[in-house]
C-alpha cells in the first residue's frame, strides 16, 4: 500500500491529511462548548480595560508574565486561588503566556494598587530592587487607542454574543455617546496617580497607555 501511495501523490496527500487532522478533532472539539462557558458573575471587560489589554499585548507583557495559576500549594500561596477555565471566557486571545521571567499576574489586582503600578512601570527597580524588568516610560506619553477597544467590544458582542449592553452599536454616534464613560473611568484611575503628564492628558480627554494598562491590571482578580 505504501509503495502505491508513493506513486500517487494525490492519495498520498489525502492520507497524510487524514492522519494529521483527527488528533485535533478528538482533542479540541468535544470540550469546546463547555470550555466556552463563563464562571457565574463574570463581567465582560470595559472599553478602558480592553484598551489596557491591547497595551499588555503591544508591549508583550506575556513574554515574561503568565496569567495561569496552577493548582499547587506553592502557587496558590504565592498568587491566590488557582485559575478556573470559566474565568477566561471573555479573553480573546488568551494571555496565559508560557514563561515566568516575572511573577504570574492572573490575580495581580488583588494585591497591587494603581499607585504601585505607576511607580513600577516608571522604574521597576525602585519598587523591586534587583528587578530585571525594563522601565516602560513610553506608556506615560503614548495615547491608548480606546476607539479600537470600543470596536472590539462591539465585535465580540455581535459576533460571539459577549454580554455588552444595548448601547454598544457599530456606529460612530454610539461610540461618541459611550466615550464619556471611558474617559470618566480613566479619570478615576488617574486620580490615584501623580505623573503630571498623565494628569494633563486626562484633562485634555486623552487616555495615556499607562492608565488603560492599570485599569486592566486592577481588573485581574
Amino acid at each position: 500500500m505504501f509503495h502505491w501511495l508513493e506513486k500517487n501523490p494525490f492519495f498520498f496527500s489525502v492520507g497524510v491529511f487524514i492522519v494529521i487532522a483527527f488528533a485535533g478533532l478528538i482533542e479540541i472539539v468535544p470540550n469546546f462548548a463547555e470550555a466556552s462557558r463563563p464562571v457565574a458573575g463574570l463581567k465582560p471587560y470595559s472599553v478602558l480595560e480592553l484598551a489596557g489589554k491591547e497595551v499588555y499585548k503591544k508591549d508583550n507583557c506575556l513574554s515574561c508574565h503568565s496569567q495561569l495559576i496552577r493548582p499547587f500549594k506553592s502557587e496558590t500561596d504565592r498568587y491566590g486561588q488557582y485559575s478556573l477555565s470559566g474565568e477566561y471566557a471573555y479573553d480573546r486571545p488568551f494571555l496565559w503566556g508560557s514563561k515566568r521571567t516575572g511573577p504570574d499576574l492572573h490575580r495581580v489586582g488583588n494585591y497591587r494598587t494603581t499607585d504601585w503600578h505607576e511607580n513600577h512601570m516608571w522604574e521597576p527597580t525602585q519598587v523591586v530592587p534587583g528587578s530585571i524588568m525594563p522601565a516602560y516610560k513610553h506608556q506615560f506619553t503614548n495615547i491608548a487607542d480606546i476607539e479600537t477597544a470600543y470596536a472590539e467590544a462591539v465585535t465580540v458582542k455581535n459576533v460571539f454574543g459577549t454580554p455588552y449592553g444595548d448601547e454598544f452599536q457599530p456606529s460612530r454616534e454610539a461610540w461618541e455617546a459611550h466615550k464619556p464613560k471611558v474617559l470618566a473611568e480613566a479619570k478615576a484611575i488617574a486620580a490615584d496617580m501623580k505623573d503630571p503628564g498623565v494628569k494633563a492628558a486626562i484633562e485634555a480627554d486623552e487616555v495615556p497607555e499607562i492608565v488603560a494598562l492599570i485599569a486592566y491590571m486592577n481588573r485581574l482578580k
Partner: protein, 489 residues
C-alpha cells in the same frame, strides 16, 4: 521522451531563498543574542527607546529565525532537491518558474511587513502566530504559491515514486496549511464594527481555554511541521548525497514517517499541563509525547546507520560532521521534550528557562546545523564553485557546538533552580523565597547564555562569509561534484 543528456536544473529560486536564509539568520540571531544579554544586563533594554525592550524584541527574534531563517532554508532546499529527486527542471515550465519567483517576492514583502509591524507592537500576541490578520492573508497566499509550485513539479515529474524527502515536504505543506488557518481564525474589528478604530486589529475566534488549546495545537505542531518535518526531509536528501551512502533502511523510514504524522499532533496539549484544559487532554499530551520518541529516534537512527562503515568521513568531511551532530541533537531534543511532558517533571519545568533551553538545543543543534550544512552542500552545485574554506567550516563547527552546549546546560541549571525555588518551603510550610530571589539567582546562567549567543552568532558570521566567498571568489568547478562537496583547505 527522456534523453540521455543530463537535465539542466534551474536554481534561480533556490538561490534567492539561500540569500534570505543567510540574511534573516544573521538578523534573527543578532536580536536573539541581544535579548539574551538583556536578561543578564537590563540596561541593554534602552538602546532603541520603546522599540528595544526585551518584550517587544522577543517576538521579532522568534519570528525572524522561524519564518525568516528556517522557512527560507526550507524553501531553498525544496527548490533545490525537489527538482533532483523528481528528475524535473524548473526551467521546463515558465509557469512554475513564475510562481516560484512570485512566491519569493511576496515572501520578502511579508517578512519586511512583519518586522515593521512587530516593532510597532501590532500583534495578535499568540506565540509564533503574532502576525495580524492582513499579514496572515499574505502568508496564506505565499503558502498557496508554494503548494502550486510543489504540486506542479510533482505533476511534471519523471521519477514516478516520490523520494522520502518529498513525503516530508508534502507533509510540511499540508500540516502548516491546516494548523495556520485554524489558529489564525480571527475577526477584523474594523469591518465588524462599522469602520471604527484600527484596520489592523482583530479578535480571535476562540476564547480562553479553547484559544489556548488551538494555539498550542498550532504552537507545538509548528515545531513539528516547520522545525522537524522539513528538516528531516533535508537530512534524508543531503546526508546520503554528501556521503555517497544509501539510506540505511527503507522500512524504518516508512515507520518513522507515518508514525510521526500520526503521533505528533496529539502531543500539543503537553504545553497545557496543569492548566484549565481537562485532565484527560493533558494526560493524552503526556502519553503521546512519550510515544513520539519512537518515530523521532527512528529517523535519527536511520540517519546515523546510513553512515555505517563510513565513519571515517566524520573526520574528513566537516559537512558530514554537521549533519551527524544535527541528527544527534535531534535525538537529544526529542528525548528531552517527552521528559518535560511528564506531569511531575512539567510541574517543575513549565514556565522556567528549561523550556527555552530545550527549544534551543533543537533549533540550534538540529535545525540550524542541518540548514547550514544543506546550504553548504548546495553551494558548489548552484554556483559551480568549490566551498571557499574548509578551515573556516571546521572553526564554525566547533564554535557553534560549544555555543549550543553552553546554551542548554546553563538553561537546564537555571530552569531547575528556578522551578525548585518557586516551590521551596521552610520548616513551617511557608514559601522560602520571594519571587525576586528566584530572578537574581539566575544572573550567572543568563550571562553564560548570552556568551553562548555571541559564540553562535560568531559562527554564523563565519558561515555567511564562507558562503559569500563561495558564491563570488572561490575556484570554479568544471563539472558537478558527485558526492562529497569539494572545498579548499
Amino acid at each position: 521522451m527522456q534523453s540521455n543528456a543530463a537535465l539542466e536544473y534551474d536554481y534561480t529560486v533556490a538561490k534567492l531563498f539561500t540569500y534570505t536564509a543567510i540574511i534573516f539568520g544573521l538578523v534573527g540571531m543578532l536580536i536573539g543574542t541581544l535579548i539574551a544579554a538583556q536578561l543578564a544586563f537590563p540596561e541593554l533594554n534602552y538602546l532603541f527607546g520603546e522599540y528595544g525592550t526585551f518584550s517587544r524584541l522577543r517576538p521579532l527574534h522568534t519570528n525572524v529565525v522561524i519564518y525568516g531563517f528556517t522557512v527560507s532554508g526550507v524553501f531553498a532546499t525544496f527548490y533545490y532537491s525537489a527538482q533532483r529527486v523528481m528528475k524535473v527542471s524548473m526551467a521546463e515550465s515558465s509557469f512554475i518558474m513564475m510562481v516560484g519567483k512570485l512566491q519569493f517576492i511576496l515572501y520578502v514583502i511579508l517578512a519586511a511587513w512583519m518586522v515593521v509591524t512587530l516593532f510597532m507592537g501590532v500583534t495578535a500576541s499568540k506565540e509564533y502566530a503574532q502576525m495580524e490578520w492582513p499579514l496572515d492573508v499574505l502568508t496564506v497566499l505565499v503558502w498557496v504559491l508554494w503548494g502550486v509550485a510543489m504540486f506542479g513539479l510533482i505533476g511534471m515529474r519523471r521519477e514516478k515514486a516520490l523520494y522520502i524527502s518529498m513525503w516530508y515536504f508534502i507533509a510540511c505543506f499540508l500540516g502548516v496549511a491546516m494548523l495556520y488557518l485554524f489558529n489564525n481564525m480571527e475577526v477584523p474589528t474594523y469591518f465588524a464594527a462599522g469602520g471604527l478604530g484600527s484596520m489592523m486589529h482583530s479578535v480571535s475566534m476562540y476564547a480562553g481555554t479553547n484559544d489556548a488549546l488551538v494555539q498550542w495545537w498550532w504552537g507545538h505542531n509548528a515545531v513539528a511541521f516547520v522545525f522537524t518535518v522539513p528538516i528531516v526531509a533535508m537530512v534524508y536528501y543531503f546526508l546520503p548525497k554528501e556521503s555517497g551512502q544509501a539510506v540505511y533502511s527503507y522500512k524504518l523510514s516508512l515507520l518513522s514517517f507515518w508514525g510521526l504524522m500520526f503521533v505528533y499532533l496529539w502531543a500539543g496539549s503537553h504545553h497545557l499541563i496543569w492548566s484549565t484544559v481537562p485532565d484527560w487532554m493533558q494526560t493524552m499530551g503526556s502519553v503521546f509525547s512519550v510515544v513520539l520518541i519512537l518515530p523521532s529516534w527512528g529517523s535519527a537512527i536511520n540517519m546515523l546507520l546510513t553512515m555505517k562503515g563510513e565513519w571515517n568521513q566524520l573526520t574528513e568531511n566537516p559537512l558530514i560532521k554537521f549533519m551527524v551532530l544535527a541528527s544527534t541533537f535531534y535525538m537529544l531534543s526529542t528525548l528531552e521534550g517527552p521528559i518535560q511532558a511528564i506531569k511531575s517533571v512539567n510541574a517543575i519545568a513549565h514556565f522556567t528557562d528549561w523550556i527555552p533551553g530545550h527549544v534551543h538545543d533543537g533549533v540550534l543543534g538540529w535545525v540550524a546545523f542541518m540548514i547550514m550544512a544543506a546550504l553548504f552542500h548546495m553551494a558548489p552545485r548552484m554556483f559551480k564553485r568549490e566551498i571557499y574554506s574548509k578551515k573556516m567550516l571546521e572553526a564554525q563547527f566547533w564554535v557553534q557546538t560549544t555555543a549550543v552546549v553552553l546554551y542548554f546546560t546553563s538553561m537546564w541549571i537555571a530552569g531547575i533552580t528556578q522551578g525548585m525555588m518557586w516551590r521551596a518551603v521552610d520548616e513551617y510550610g511557608n514559601l522560602m523565597y520571594s519571587f525576586i530571589d528566584t530572578v537574581t539567582v539566575l544572573h550567572p546562567y543568563y550571562t553564560i547564555r548570552a556568551v553562548a549567543g555571541v559564540l553562535f552568532v560568531a559562527g554564523f558570521i563565519l558561515f555567511a562569509y564562507n558562503m559569500f566567498m563561495t558564491m563570488t571568489a572561490s575556484k570554479k568547478l568544471e563539472e558537478e561534484p558527485q558526492f562529497r562537496s569539494p572545498m579548499a583547505a
